[in-house]
């Protein structure tokens, strides 16, 4: 959350000669980050990002407090100045207010005070200017005081017209489902159970606590008596209310971070002064202050060893104590225990709880830029193979060099890219309908990419990504990494060849392609198995399975389970002595019966004799295929008397098993 504050306002709280650039740089280095400085006439406006743990810094006062201790560390003197205040005077027979709080947990501190004799008019122009610089609209002096003090001190407050609170009674409680309030912005808001509200003596809801006041009790130009209201609320309740109402305000942003109950009285005292100076207001009631459980002092200790362990350098406790003191901590060094004990200042009460919190304070003010750079020790780790990552990278690189382009598409897809939506994971709060289901296959995404690139003559793409297979309502899905390839250029065998070469690169030998009809969107499909485990499929897209697909050309795809594939990968290299005897190479021309699968034939031939070093198809026309066989022995020169029985065996086997015959020249 960012805050805008002007340089002149900051200097009300800070005596220093530092220029705005120095302020921005050193504040960013040691505390909150200055995102931007804008020059405005003679003034500068800082935009500062305030981290959620530092609601105290969500104010001019908080930033000044930080700077007062940071700037001197850079050699620039700086001093924090307390703002002028007016003590609450004792009032005899003050105006009454009856307050009932249903549960103190909702509102740890409740204060209120009435000012009489108010003249409602525009604020002084310098006040208006400061508010505008901080991004807040100036309205009138009464409302402006509450906004001004919110920016200045970080404590939001609200002003009621005292005379509009019927019976001068307030009941702070949780709303019931369905109750309504019209807030200051004129919106009617239906309340949910648990939202903190205030009703007056007549049962009217007059405040949506911590977020915005009610229209029915707002101050207007006729207001004479103002009830100023300064509270702290249960931050979780405020946050939940904002979520339930989808409504946020500057005040709520502060309350939901948890505010300092000890900051309430100083805020009232400051308000006393401003009401007097800007509105001629007079305190007309006692200070109503309900604070049943005051903050108890809180101490946190940290040892010198611990400081050194986290900062990485030797650090004297005295130096640590000095830094903490400058930030408002009260410290005691326990020499015997080599540790220091710090009492947390009230404005940091919720933020500092453990030794590490103190170390952060010490280290940031000392300056992270003053710490050395080390590399972590190379201590031995529990072994875990990283081969999945190596292979993944190798596969991607291979495909790149074989002419494929890697795509990266969203894991989330629209309904028409999912085949079985009832068995797919769906987002409960999608951003768009295009990103609704977690995909179970990469192929539809690849098709969509092909479709959306009509300018490309030929498409050769691949992607490696997870798919998500649901495993019930109480278990995380099975995330499986897939390799998907799509080509509009390569035919079935060329794409198959890509996969075969990939398998070869991975050292995988025992694989099989078998005809199948499992994917409804494929024609000419093969299932790929490794060691009889199914790992994926390859085939041609059936265009009619995708009504949105307008591409006409044939598209071939394959999808394999990458980690299963990799689990069969083999890096082992075997050495065979080079052959000493020459091979004998012979070509055979066979006639195949129609629709005979050639894979099993090749396997069959190979199995016939160990002397068959290799068998390949070198030519194929209609039903005729030419096979080239290489015969080789490691022991001797092969002679005809050894070859002829092998030839015989091949011919009879092929004839008996596949009805394949040797082509005769006619």
């Amino acid at each position: 959350m960012n805050i805008l504050i002007s340089d002149s306002w900051l200097r009300d709280f800070l005596e220093t000669k530092a220029n705005p650039q120095q302020i921005a740089e050193y504040l960013s280095l040691c505390s909150q980050s200055v995102e931007k400085i804008t020059k405005e006439n003679q003034d500068f406006v800082y935009e500062i990002e305030i981290t959620s743990n530092r609601p105290d810094c969500f104010s001019v006062q908080g930033i000044a407090r930080e700077l007062a201790c940071i700037l001197p560390r850079f050699g620039i003197p700086a001093k924090f100045k307390e703002p002028p205040v007016k003590e609450t005077p004792p009032v005899k027979n003050g105006l009454p207010l009856e307050v009932k709080i249903s549960n103190y947990d909702l509102c740890p501190r409740f204060t209120a005070i009435v000012y009489d004799n108010i003249t409602v008019k525009p604020s002084p122009s310098w006040v208006q200017k400061r508010l505008i610089q901080s991004g807040i609209r100036a309205l009138n002096n009464v409302v402006d005081i509450s906004n001004y003090l919110m920016i200045e001190l970080g404590q939001p407050m609200h002003t009621f017209d005292y005379d509009k609170i019927l019976k001068h009674k307030m009941i702070l409680r949780e709303a019931k489902e369905g109750e309504e309030i019209i807030t200051l912005d004129g919106q009617k808001r239906k309340l949910k159970e648990g939202i903190i509200i205030i009703e007056d003596g007549e049962g009217r809801i007059i405040d949506l606590c911590g977020i915005m006041g009610g229209k029915n009790s707002e101050t207007d130009e006729n207001t004479k008596r103002v009830l100023l209201f300064v509270q702290t609320y249960n931050p979780t309740k405020i946050r939940k209310a904002c979520q339930a109402l989808s409504f946020r305000t500057e005040a709520a942003n502060r309350f939901e971070k948890g505010l300092d109950p000890e900051g309430v009285i100083p805020a009232i005292k400051r308000a006393n002064l401003l009401f007097e100076e800007w509105c001629e207001g007079k305190v007309a009631s006692q200070l109503f202050d309900i604070y049943p459980h005051p903050q108890k002092p809180k101490n946190v200790s940290v040892s010198q060893k611990h400081i050194e362990k986290i900062m990485g350098i030797k650090f004297p406790l005295e130096e640590a104590a000095k830094i903490l003191e400058s930030l408002g901590f009260k410290t005691t060094i326990e020499t015997k225990k080599e540790s220091l004990c710090a009492q947390i200042p009230h404005f940091r009460y919720d933020d500092v709880n453990i030794p590490e919190d103190l170390i952060e304070e010490i280290a940031r003010i000392y300056g992270y830029h003053n710490l050395p750079n080390f590399l972590p020790p190379l201590a031995p780790l529990d072994f875990q193979s990283e081969s999945n990552f190596e292979y993944e990278s190798k596969i991607k690189t291979a495909l790149k060099y074989w002419g494929f382009t890697e795509t990266a598409s969203y894991s989330l897809v629209s309904e028409n890219l999912i085949s079985d939506k009832n068995a797919s994971l769906k987002l409960a709060n999608p951003l768009t309908e295009d990103l609704l289901y977690l995909r179970k296959s990469l192929i539809p995404s690849l098709l969509k990419i092909a479709q959306e690139n009509p300018q490309e003559e030929k498409i050769n793409i691949f992607e490696i990504a997870n798919v998500y297979l649901p495993k019930g309502k109480t278990s995380l899905p099975d995330e499986r990494m897939k390799l998907g390839i799509l080509s509009s250029e390569k035919n079935f065998f060329q794409l198959k060849g890509v996969l075969e070469l990939l398998l070869y690169e991975l050292g995988i030998k025992n694989y099989q392609f078998s005809p199948s009809q499992k994917q409804q969107y494929l024609v000419k499909e093969a299932t790929i198995t490794l060691n009889s485990q199914e790992v994926g499929y390859l085939g041609e897209i059936n265009h009619s399975a995708f009504p949105w697909l307008t591409l006409q050309k044939p598209l071939f795809v394959l999808e394999v389970d990458l980690l299963t594939l990799i689990s069969f990968a083999n890096k082992e290299k075997k050495y065979l002595p080079l052959p000493k005897y020459p091979p004998i190479i012979e070509d055979f021309c066979f006639v195949f019966p129609p629709q005979t699968f050639v894979g099993p034939v090749l396997e069959e031939i190979q199995k016939i004799s160990p002397l068959i070093a290799s068998v390949k198809i070198i030519d194929s026309y209609a039903n005729t295929k030419t096979f080239r066989l290489v015969f080789q022995s490691r022991e001797k020169n092969l002679e005809e008397k050894e070859l002829s029985p092998i030839r015989e065996k091949i011919l009879t086997h092929l004839k008996n098993k596949f009805k394949i015959t040797l082509k005769t020249n006619q």
Binding site: S33, F389, Y401, E406
Partner: protein, 343 residues
């Protein structure tokens, strides 16, 4: 003796014809005439069987030598033809025939580069679920159910997915969920680099609903802020260039204490300040010392061990490289091939 003469004649005849041959084709004819299946050498060997055994050996040897001489003469002659060809004119300015051209995705290249830099520091790569339980992404990282810090992460929830122990099923909004997963799996020392897809309910020029983060986690005895600084510096100088500087500033995360924002000096203005940076610095991402509560949640004793962690967007880091000012981060995931083929 007659056979011996025949062999000599045959050799001379062959060598003559070889030298006279003018083209590769002519040479091939000579080869087949003398060395072919039914060539003249083969014819000669047929005579061997009629010879007495002692002559058989010497003549056989002679035939073999002749064969070798012819072979080497053919090889010599063939070289001439090749040399001739090389001297003839070709258009060296004509385009070459390239192998197929492919492309890796920019993010893949960045991930490969990032992981190799951290590998040199002995970091081990990990990858953890993208569909994750609330516990690992939030609750276990010290962000209770209603903690306002959760607002920083615009989280996608999965319909009908909830576990009694671990809470709701979500798409992990950061790789920090891998911290607890790593701690559950391994004992310290830990040096992890977890690079994975993350998802947030945001889409604009600088936010993609799906993006990558890389998360570093180091846990050992006496790990300090100085170790974090050294590691960041090592990474930045290797990834962006030796002239780039790093700094850490205070920040707040629930799962680290202290927490930092990491800045890198701007590569465009060399840290002087320009419209692409904030006073000479670019924000890289968050980091911090692992919160003791998170160590405890991961089963590690914070009294013995300490650690640091950082988690940054891969795309954002990539785009801070010179020459890669891509105007809309979502371009990385729209798969326009004209874009993908640029890299």
């Amino acid at each position: 003796m007659m056979l011996n003469d025949q062999i000599n004649n045959l050799k001379n005849e062959a060598l003559g014809e070889i030298l006279e041959s003018q083209t590769k084709e002519e040479l091939e004819k000579v080869r087949s005439l003398f060395l072919g299946k039914s060539g003249k050498i083969r014819e000669l060997t047929k005579n061997l069987k009629d010879l007495p055994p002692e002559e058989k050996v010497s003549i056989g040897k002679k035939i073999n030598e002749t064969k070798k001489a012819i072979e080497s003469a053919i090889a010599e002659q063939a070289k001439k033809f090749t040399a001739q060809k090389q001297s003839s004119w070709i258009d060296v300015t004509a385009p070459g025939e390239k192998p197929a051209e492919g492309h890796l995705h920019l993010v893949t290249e960045a991930i490969q580069e990032i992981s190799s830099i951290f590998a040199r520091l002995g970091f081990k790569r990990s990858r953890y679920p993208e569909v994750e339980w609330d516990w690992y992404a939030f609750e276990g990282l010290n962000m209770s159910k209603n903690h306002p810090a959760r607002d920083e992460w615009e989280t996608f929830f999965i319909e009908d997915l909830e576990n009694e122990k671990y809470g709701k099923g979500i798409l992990t909004p950061h790789t920090s969920s891998g911290q607890l997963r790593e701690m559950e799996k391994f004992k310290p020392p830990i040096r992890m680099i977890n690079i994975a897809k993350c998802y947030r309910r945001q889409s604009d020029v600088s936010h993609s609903p799906m993006f990558y983060q890389f998360e570093g986690l180091v846990i050992d005895k006496n790990i300090s802020i100085a170790h974090l600084k050294g590691t960041l510096d090592f990474f930045v100088r290797n990834f962006f260039g030796p002239e780039r500087k790093t700094r850490i500033r205070p920040f707040h995360f629930q799962f680290t204490e202290p927490s930092f924002e990491v800045d890198v000096s701007c590569g465009l203005c060399q840290g002087k300040g320009c419209r692409f940076c904030k006073a000479g610095w670019l924000e890289l991402g968050g980091s911090g010392m692992v919160h003791p509560k998170v160590l405890e949640n991961g089963g590690i004793d914070p009294k013995i061990y300490s650690g640091f962690a950082f988690g940054w967007g891969v795309e954002r880091t990539l785009m801070m490289k010179k020459g890669l000012q891509i105007e809309d981060i979502r371009l990385l995931y729209t798969n326009d091939l004209r874009f993908l083929k640029q890299f």
